[in-house]
Subunit: 369 residues, 2 copies
Amino acid sequence: MEYHDQLGLSRERFADLAEQFHDDSYRGRAYRRLPDYRKAVEKGTVLIAGTVVRGFPKIPRCLVLDEGIPQHFNREIAVEEKLNGYNVRVARIEGDVLAFTRSGIVCPFTTHKVRRLVDCEAFFDRHPDRMLCGEMVGPENPYTTADCYDVDSIAFRAFDIRDRESGESLPVEDRRAACEDLEIPQVDLFGVYEPAEAVEATPEIIDDLDSRGREGIVMKTVDGGQQLKYTTSAANQGDLAFAFSLPFDYGRDFSFRRLIREGFQSVEFADSEVERRQRAHGVGESLLVPMADAIEAVDEGERLGERHTVRAEPRVVDALLDHFHEQSLSLDIEQDRRIEGERVLTFSKRIQRSTDKIDSYLDGTIVKE
Amino acid sequence: MEYHDQLGLSRERFADLAEQFHDDSYRGRAYRRLPDYRKAVEKGTVLIAGTVVRGFPKIPRCLVLDEGIPQHFNREIAVEEKLNGYNVRVARIEGDVLAFTRSGIVCPFTTHKVRRLVDCEAFFDRHPDRMLCGEMVGPENPYTTADCYDVDSIAFRAFDIRDRESGESLPVEDRRAACEDLEIPQVDLFGVYEPAEAVEATPEIIDDLDSRGREGIVMKTVDGGQQLKYTTSAANQGDLAFAFSLPFDYGRDFSFRRLIREGFQSVEFADSEVERRQRAHGVGESLLVPMADAIEAVDEGERLGERHTVRAEPRVVDALLDHFHEQSLSLDIEQDRRIEGERVLTFSKRIQRSTDKIDSYLDGTIVKE
């Protein structure tokens, strides 16, 4: 079957889209990936070895649970935890298990870790045409920094099993049973509810997750067809803190959206005046403290960056560094140790724009606005 | 002299620019005005009765006084107060004194007020080719809301006297003397300093202004040729509160810039940890409290708007309402009283986008981001 058939597109439509795909390769195997959102096909969709690995869809969000849930759903939904890590799709291509990031890149580090963390061969023997979708969480990974999961280094948590080509999900119950059978760790399920029940139940779930510094929930119809997400104040404020630690790279729209979420949550969750003030103080600290820290760091001659630590066999860390090098990322190595035969590397991805802008304003550059 | 000569442009260059001017009129007198910033000519420049009323230039800003002042200035500067009101240029055209707003609109209300507040005829008898530039401040005006100046209704404060055509400023000393002679109220002068002295003096001036809820300072070379501004935390946070009371209209870039200012000020003013936390709490409250109030207001069926009060003879208020009507502004009248022969009108300029967006999210609309 040709790619356009697998994607459900006409030959003409696919020809237009094909120009948007980027050429890439992993260990000598060429593939093409769609780096942005498009109408016809999900971001991160990959064409590889004659087959399609469908991108993971963007999950819509509501700002108000009370109205958003019944607006979006008219049947039973499962409420599961949304984790703060990075999204990965695992597929077996010509006998090789590969881990694809959200934007469709085969990550050598993640590929290695997933093979260790999950019995992938057993999974794909049972589900050859599917992909296993999940979140990589934990403090030692090359992409995200959240550290609230009682994970020492890195872990995988499944949240979906999809048809590799069409992207169609297994029903929630079947997926959870399949993962349990194969001892694949998965995200927590809080319950299955009618929409009206979910409106009652979700604020408490969110409050509890918030108190533990967790990110939020994904609600989905039990057939897996429709999804909706909602995040905690802890996640919103954590994102703001991240954004304003690199203000000129992430500050504007990214932070505006999270501020708006806090506003709607404060109203829906009926904050008392004291609670609203506390939330406001949290918001303000998330913005100002990391920003002032960043300005002071640049003032002292430091470069800004995103710091990550990875731990793996030396050859895996080498492969990751080569991979980042191919992507033209500039890394500063901050610490490089061997512990029990593994290489534990702390590096910082240089973020140029915020460093340069802050430097220039500190030098007295004038703003014309 | 033709317009292009007065503006110092070639005939060809002016012909290109002329298309950007908007046609307008005031009491049967036609004029053209430049509503946006352009390279060649200042925003708000007006062509009227064969003469030019040059726009007031945008004043550049520094984020760091310490480096910004010596970068920008190499000679003596006067430091004056920057007021939080609206900018107005007053000129005499064919014998009529007219008040132009920043974007070059003749405002009937402001024109009336300026004629009462300032001895305009005496001014223009002495300075026929100049314009008087100043800020309208006080709680009763149709454009701004700051109320920190011990002004009951509305007042004028001069800060510049410029050549009407070229825009060239009188030296600060001459301007201040000219205003004093004619008893024209003017902005406070804090002192005249060498750049290095200004670096020492300005943080204290800013701290004092901040403690009184004032907006900031304008520094200018004593010949009036170059300007630079800097604002207080009170102004930054006041702007944030305004922006987030109408979050989808003003929230994004407007607020981002002000957050950045707070970050640099916190570092330059060497906030202690406690002071930084206090500033952060102020920032957070400026954002969250007005936003939550706006969401609650829309939830209760209110329309959002910018509320203003004006007080004047009934015919002047009528003229202002006609003027807004011509500009297609939608007003909700909230209170309409007569006090000692004057009409005291409180109205709200409808702000549609924030009202609609909040309403839609409250109804459960999904965000795809």
